[in-house]
Symmetry: C2
Subunit: 423 residues, 2 copies
């Protein structure tokens, strides 16, 4: 529909923002049952409207092909019956999770006789900016609604029809459950200036969650006036101490690197202690069997000639691919120093049989997740038992590590007295 004057991006945000705030207020006062019911009803509608969703998706796919988009991109964009069912099932599984709102986080009675409780409440309004996967529309909205937050969605332009169709189902389900439809809103067009306006809208939006590649996260982090839950890099390390069982170490390293090399929890640099370097050829065997390229410093290459020469930039590179950088270090201090200089504070770990060495590493390394004898691929909200995650954060405030439902809440203090006055 054409209008006579096109509203500016700021106008649009100034219209959506107060609606989101109002919806957040209503949602914060809603029952768990009402929110779960809305999610289940949205799941049912998704299943009923599978034909419409696939039709909307076909329009996106057609446009993408005309623009010459490639295989991986097209695959991410594509919906089929199974993927639509997965979206519906995802909504239902979020509805099953424990209610993060209203939890009593602490309660105590100071000497003044008051009873003080710290209780979890929704954050308020979450902005989610994401790229091509249409399922993020449902996944992110479900986590926000479940945790009592309103959400403003801005998906990738290539998925605009798919996203809008999914969003309509969610908003209708909210309305049918007597919850405010504006608890889930989607920006009305793909003007990039709208992203800019959203990133500035700290009066309406409490936190922004970017979901996508490094370019998106970089832009959001550099431009946002609103706080951001995100990670830019996952340049993750394992330190192989001489006390580690070599078979265990090789298994964990291979899993950390190769299970899914493209996820942010994948291993990127291995630091091998001089005391473990004798086992390096066995590791290189295991990696070579699975087509993983190995790059290393001089000491690593001296231990195994199949290792390619690493350049300085390798230590700072998140390959997200079947490539592993290996440096040999003299002791735990040198390993921690390397991690300090090159790490991205996402997930770093130690492989060691010596518990004291491992505990010192856990205490000293300042990353969101620090592991002992476990694959870095476990850096995931689902594996942490959070049920689901909206992302992983490497910032230091409020949310750090996997961002699940609990991290989408804040708290308030309830103070119960019996007429106390302060002396």
């Amino acid at each position: 529909m054409a209008t006579e004057t096109t509203p500016s991006p700021e106008d649009i945000i100034h219209r959506m923002g107060p609606a989101a705030r109002d919806a957040a207020r209503q949602l914060a006062g809603s029952s768990r049952e009402a929110r779960d019911e809305a999610l289940r009803s949205a799941a049912a509608s998704i299943r009923e409207q599978v034909a419409e969703l696939l039709e909307a998706n076909a329009r996106d796919l057609e446009a993408a092909k005309q623009r010459g988009l490639g295989g991986a991109m097209l695959d991410r964009l594509t919906l089929d019956g199974d993927r639509v069912e997965a979206i519906a099932a995802g909504l239902e599984s979020v509805a099953e999770l424990n209610d993060p709102v209203g939890r009593e986080l602490a309660r105590w009675q100071p000497s003044n006789g008051l009873d003080i409780a710290r209780v979890a409440v929704p954050i308020g309004v979450i902005g989610v900016i994401y790229e091509s996967r249409p399922n993020v529309t449902a996944d992110a909205a479900a986590l926000c609604v479940k945790s009592g937050n309103a959400v403003i969605l801005r998906g990738g332009s290539e998925a605009v029809h798919s996203n809008r169709a999914i969003y309509r189902v969610l908003a209708d389900a909210l309305e049918a459950s007597a919850l405010p439809a504006a608890a889930v809103q989607m920006v009305p067009d793909q003007d990039r200036a709208l992203v800019g306006a959203l990133l500035q809208a700290h009066e309406y939006v409490d936190v922004i969650v970017p979901r996508g590649g490094k370019g998106l996260v970089e832009r959001v982090q550099s431009d946002a006036r609103v706080p951001v839950f995100a990670h830019l890099d996952g340049n993750n390390h394992l330190y192989w101490h001489g006390s580690a069982d070599p078979t265990m170490a090789i298994d964990v390293i291979a899993n950390a690197k190769l299970r899914r090399p493209g996820i942010c929890g994948a291993l990127e640099t291995l630091l091998v202690d001089a005391g473990a370097v004798e086992h390096l050829p066995r590791l290189v065997d295991a990696l070579a069997d699975r087509d993983c390229e190995v790059r290393g410093d001089d000491r690593a290459r001296a231990a195994d000639s199949r290792i390619f020469e690493a350049r300085a930039e390798d230590w700072d590179t998140e390959y997200l691919d079947k490539v592993l950088a290996i440096a040999v270090v003299d002791d735990p201090a040198a390993a921690m120093d390397h991690i300090q200089r090159h790490g991205s504070r996402h997930t770093d770990g130690i492989l060691a049989g010596d518990g004291a060495v491992a505990e010192a590493f856990l205490a000293r390394v300042d990353s969101a997740i620090v592991m002992h004898n476990a694959s870095t691929q476990f850096a995931d909200g689902g594996e942490f038992g959070f049920g689901a995650e909206i992302g992983i954060a490497t910032g230091r405030l409020h949310a750090r590590g996997p961002v699940g439902l609990e991290q989408l809440t804040t708290f308030k203090y309830l103070v119960r007295g019996s007429g106390q006055t302060r002396p």
Copy 2:
């Protein structure tokens, strides 16, 4: 000392920032004992150097008088023997508090067999920007060091000599305790552009705490790229429900307004339920006895002719003075609606005998602190049992309400395994 080229504010921050980061790293790895010992040794030095501190303070007072500064301002700036002793005792009492670092906040074992712990760690580097009271130099630095954080201080220009003298004692005590002196730094001059550079320095500073009047907080909140723990207003409400014991209600209201009208937890607007309005004259008696001006809407004035007419702006005014605004409301919903429209989400409360009405109010009102039958003057970290506070925050992320030692920590996840790989 003059230098040939004056470094720019950015140069200064780019020198202080990495030093603070290094110091924070060392402090995070330091023992509780070392940090407490540094605070106690600083307290001893403060007592030894009382003459030097008073001399530095005399220079500030002299300059302030020449600039014609007034009584309250001069009083805030003035140190004497008792105030210096209070600074020393304050350092010692912070040393006595429980260590907020290393606390195990949660620990669980998901079905993958891992052992996951969420452990408190220091935030990193805190910037504290404050006005005329020299004691803030010691108080703020002590809370930061105790919680394992490095701090960059920027005090008011009128207290520059006093602040610098106190800061030197702290930095020397850190060094003598084998902790990094750069854990406490002070910006080297009073150039206002340095504040601007500090507010932008998100690569070096994790959070800014402004301590001072509304002008300071406003500037910090509007200019900072670094997250801020602060509150701008404390436009606090009490709602007097008809079920409240009138004697209790009047006691609490008078205390909330008049104990110290100038603190951010002071009551500013009273909402009287139509069912309690008959008791209003007794309240006005109590307030008038203590020189408190009362302003009200038409219904309040109809109940007591001593009440002056309130204007629209009264509902949005934080008087910080012996003035109380009173509006009559029909029910809890109207009270909550007023708080929603005019409140600043700092501290709001209900006075009620009906527990169900009170609990509904506690659940629905979205303020950092929500109280039942207690004076809003209890909105204070000390009264909450936090030992001390660096401020009160009305933001929604990380810290909300009184900001004590625990709120100056963040967390990391420690994942302990036995060789797990992710399927």
